[in-house]
Amino acid sequence: MLREYGGKPLVEWLVLLLGVVIFLVGLVFVAGGAELALLGGSLYYLLCGLVLLASGTAMLMGRTLGALLYLAALAYTWAWSVWEVGFSPVDLLPRAFGPTLLGLPVLFSIPVLRRMATRRAIGGIC
């Protein structure tokens, strides 16, 4: 039996924490990416940051969409990385390694988010 805090299972708190992390990364991406774009640099960070903000927000609302948006951002990250530097491991390291690593807990969050959604649908108050 899962331990519960404030009426939520621990895994749900962890998913919310994941949402906070993704939201904060999104904030950094949007703030830094906006400056970079103004300086004539890559638009990736700004665009990806907006998706991450949406992903984090949705996850904090307990919506499965949050996880899916993160996976979309990850796919965008890989596509952009390969477009920019090909398959060179040294160059992929800073671009794709961390986001992919973060993608693992996001995958595991999907069933939790679904359970949260189901509970909401049943009419529970979350």
Partner: protein, 738 residues
């Protein structure tokens, strides 16, 4: 004068550690525009005022005519007299002219400074059996309460029955080359305060006297230039001071230098003896003031220590010592690298830096501009340049010449060989010159360079490129070359890159925003110089790709940062140092400068490799035989943490290579604290060994009792953040493997 470099990086999975950036250090200067009142008019720009201003103000340093501070004449020596070059006795053939096969007679083994040894006991087949034969402790390392300014950078010499070397603070010793047992030691009592940017002693010089008969004390002597500016001669057999040299074996090199304080001026390279004249140069601390002590190069009689000539850039026709209250002209280009002597042509090849106040050239004279960042061939009879070859015009990037040049015979067009020198540079452009004339043997192109927009300081319209040699630098930086552990540090570095002005290698200094210097003053070839195998014609070069991030700032901003020159009474050692921020007092601007890195993780902003090693075939069209990154990530990582990874990522490196007839290249240099043996033909790393400290020194090899040894000073380097030790580590093959 310096050498430096920082650590590098590695990889780690810690991408969630977000470097939240603070850009304060590189923020725009704010109060832009030239501080008009502090710019001297044309009539005052060439020489400092004879007297200090009536109101010295908070930041005015001492007058150049002020007495030297206590300790500047470290041994309180009387002035030395002069002797005419014509009356010098003929020099005996020296050990470096044709070293015995088992000897390493000069800093670069021979007078040509090839760093090539004919020893062949250690080969690619048996090198894996190398083991430590002995370790020797010099006794010089930072004591409690002392700032770590150590980087011994020492290369011993081996002549006959002795291994001669110096500690980082200039104590001289003779070791038994077979056992490492100390035979004698001459302590010089050097003070900690005398250490300039770095406590280094790259080596000592062996000299055989024609005036003292064989068998008498000081027939063979060890000469050394010290951090506290003494020229010292001791007997090679006993270590006793040579009584017939200078005053009791010592000469005060601060004579005629004018106002100075300990640590401002220092000598870190072995003096060079050419036709009986011992030539000395010295470093002057970078970035302090426009009218820093002189960069004068001087010749002394190797027999008596008496003064022979001076080469003072602004007084080209006056080769005498200054008398009375006069001094050598201030602020002139200094030469801190090891020089190369050419007895046959009577020349000494002097690698020069730029004039003081490194990043603003508006107040430099035409005479200074003509000889800065150049190789200057001085006639050792007169002290006058016979030719000059300039590698950067009006240098404001601190591309001072760090490498010792190597003499070689270059294949000519008509089947004859041309007496040549190889001139490495921090730019990664390597020039090959006819050493009789200074003319380039390989094609050199003058290519257009960008103009600057700093008031009162114009840039040279063109810069020289050695298109006949492989270039030892990476392509220009692009935004997508930014690196990091995570997308967030990469984003930080991309912003930092885009904030800066960067239009390639000769991006001019700027006041309104930072600019990037790449290769920069830690790039290309540095004091490790190059190793040349005259048998195979293979040239071994290790080099760096480490950009710098800099910005000119106004005087008022410098005041806020408390940037003051070292000889200012209000000098604050933490505010600025050589290699770092500098006041450039006496010019309109100060400089902020740091590696182009993420200051949070202390990883360089661009992607590796940061250090490379290249083999060039000089006999068949200067082709690259092999080239690969030098240095693993084992001892490097974010926040200076070792990753333990054997990945040959290519780290910053300092210290050169040795090449042997056995077909091996020995080199430490990288920040992974390894010494390694590389196959000269293929570039493959065949053996490596973890040193007790950083291997930031040129290794050497010698033979005694039929056994070949390889020695390297594992002294580390403070700026490269490698462990500092006082240990010389010497390797040899066990009996069974020979």
């Amino acid at each position: 004068m310096r050498r430096y470099r920082f650590l590098a990086m590695g990889m780690a999975a810690a991408w969630l550690c977000l470097p939240v950036s603070s850009h304060a250090q590189f923020a725009a200067a704010g109060s832009g525009g030239p501080p008009g009142a502090s710019i001297p008019g044309p009539g005052r720009a060439d020489e400092p005022a004879e007297q200090a201003p009536a109101d010295p103000g908070y930041f005015a340093g001492p007058s150049p005519y002020a007495p030297q501070a206590p300790g500047v004449n470290a041994a309180n020596l009387p002035d030395i007299g002069s002797v005419a070059a014509d009356s010098l006795p003929a020099m005996l053939p020296q050990a470096g002219a044709a070293p015995a096969p088992g000897d390493w007679a000069t800093y670069g083994r021979d007078d040509a400074q090839t760093r090539y040894s004919p020893l062949a006991q250690i080969t690619p087949e048996n090198v894996s059996h190398l083991q430590v034969a002995f370790t020797y402790h010099t006794g010089s390392y930072p004591r409690p309460g002392q700032t770590n300014k150590w980087a011994a950078e020492t290369t011993p010499i081996k002549v006959g029955d002795g291994l001669y070397m110096c500690s980082a603070q200039n104590d001289i010793m003779k070791l038994d080359p077979a056992t490492g047992k100390e035979i004698w030691r001459r302590n010089l009592g050097e003070k900690y305060e005398a250490i300039p940017y770095t406590a280094a002693c790259k080596g000592v010089t062996y000299f055989t006297s024609s005036q003292v008969p064989q068998g008498q004390p000081c027939h063979n002597r060890i000469l050394e230039g010290t951090l506290d500016m003494r020229l010292v001669a001791v007997d090679a057999a006993t270590g006793e001071f040579c009584p017939g040299f200078g005053h009791g074996g010592q000469v005060n090199l601060m004579q005629g230098m004018g106002e100075s304080v300990p640590g401002f001026v220092a000598m870190t390279v072995p003096p060079t003896v050419v036709n009986g004249v011992v030539v000395v140069n010295h470093q002057v601390l970078d970035g302090q003031r426009r009218w820093a002590p002189s960069g004068v190069v001087r010749g002394y009689d190797a027999e008596s220590g008496r003064f022979v000539w001076a080469w003072d850039v602004k007084h080209p026709d006056d080769h005498d010592q200054p008398t009375g209250n006069r001094h050598y002209s201030r602020g002139t280009p200094n030469s801190w690298a090891a020089m190369t002597g050419d007895d046959a042509l009577g020349l000494v090849y002097v690698p020069t830096g730029n004039a003081a106040g490194d990043y603003f050239s508006g107040y430099r004279s035409a005479a200074e501009n003509a000889v800065s960042t150049s190789i200057v061939a001085l006639d050792v009879r007169t002290g006058s340049p016979r030719w000059v070859f300039q590698t950067v015009h009006k240098d404001v990037w601190d591309y001072d010449m760090g490498s010792q040049v190597t003499m070689m015979d270059m294949p000519g067009t008509d089947g004859q060989t041309v007496p040549a020198i190889i001139v490495p540079t921090k730019r990664g452009q390597t020039f090959v010159l006819d050493r009789r004339t200074g003319q380039s043997i390989l094609p050199v192109e003058e290519r257009p360079a960008p103009a600057g927009d700093v008031a009162g300081d114009t840039r040279a319209p063109t810069q020289p490129w050695s298109v006949g040699m492989p270039s030892l630098h990476m392509p220009d930086l692009r935004e997508q070359d930014m690196w990091g552990m995570s997308p967030i540090d990469q984003l930080y570095c991309r912003i930092k890159f885009r904030r800066a002005h960067y239009v390639g290698e000769f991006t001019p200094p700027s006041l309104d925003r930072p600019w990037i210097m790449y290769p920069g003053n830690n790039g290309g070839s540095d004091w490790g110089s190059m190793a040349y195998d005259p048998q195979t014609g293979i040239l071994i070069a290790n080099w760096n790709a480490s950009p710098m991030y800099a910005q000119l700032i106004t005087r008022s901003k410098a005041d806020v940062l408390k940037l003051m020159p070292i000889d200012d009474p209000h000098y604050h050692p933490g505010a600025g140092a050589a290699e770092g921020n500098g006041p450039m007092e006496g010019t309109p601007y100060a400089i902020t400068i740091a590696p182009f890195w993420d200051p949070f993780t202390r990883m360089l902003c661009h992607k590796p490799p940061y250090g490379m090693i290249t083999a060039i075939d000089m006999k068949h069209g200067q082709k690259v035989l092999w080239q690969h990154p030098l240095g693993t990530a084992r001892a490097n990582g974010p926040w200076g943490l070792p990753t333990g990874l054997p990945w040959e990522i290519g780290t910053p490196n300092n210290g050169g290579a040795v090449v042997t007839a056995g077909g091996l290249v020995f080199i430490g240099a990288a920040t992974d604290n390894l010494i390694r043996a590389i196959d000269e033909r293929t570039g493959r790393v065949l053996w490596s060994h973890v040193l007790p400290g950083g291997g930031q020194a040129n290794p050497m090899t010698y033979e005694v009792n039929g056994r070949q040894y390889v020695a390297i000073m594992a002294g580390g380097h403070h700026f490269m953040m490698t462990p500092v030790t006082d240990q010389l580590v010497v390797f040899a093959l066990p009996q069974a493997a020979r």
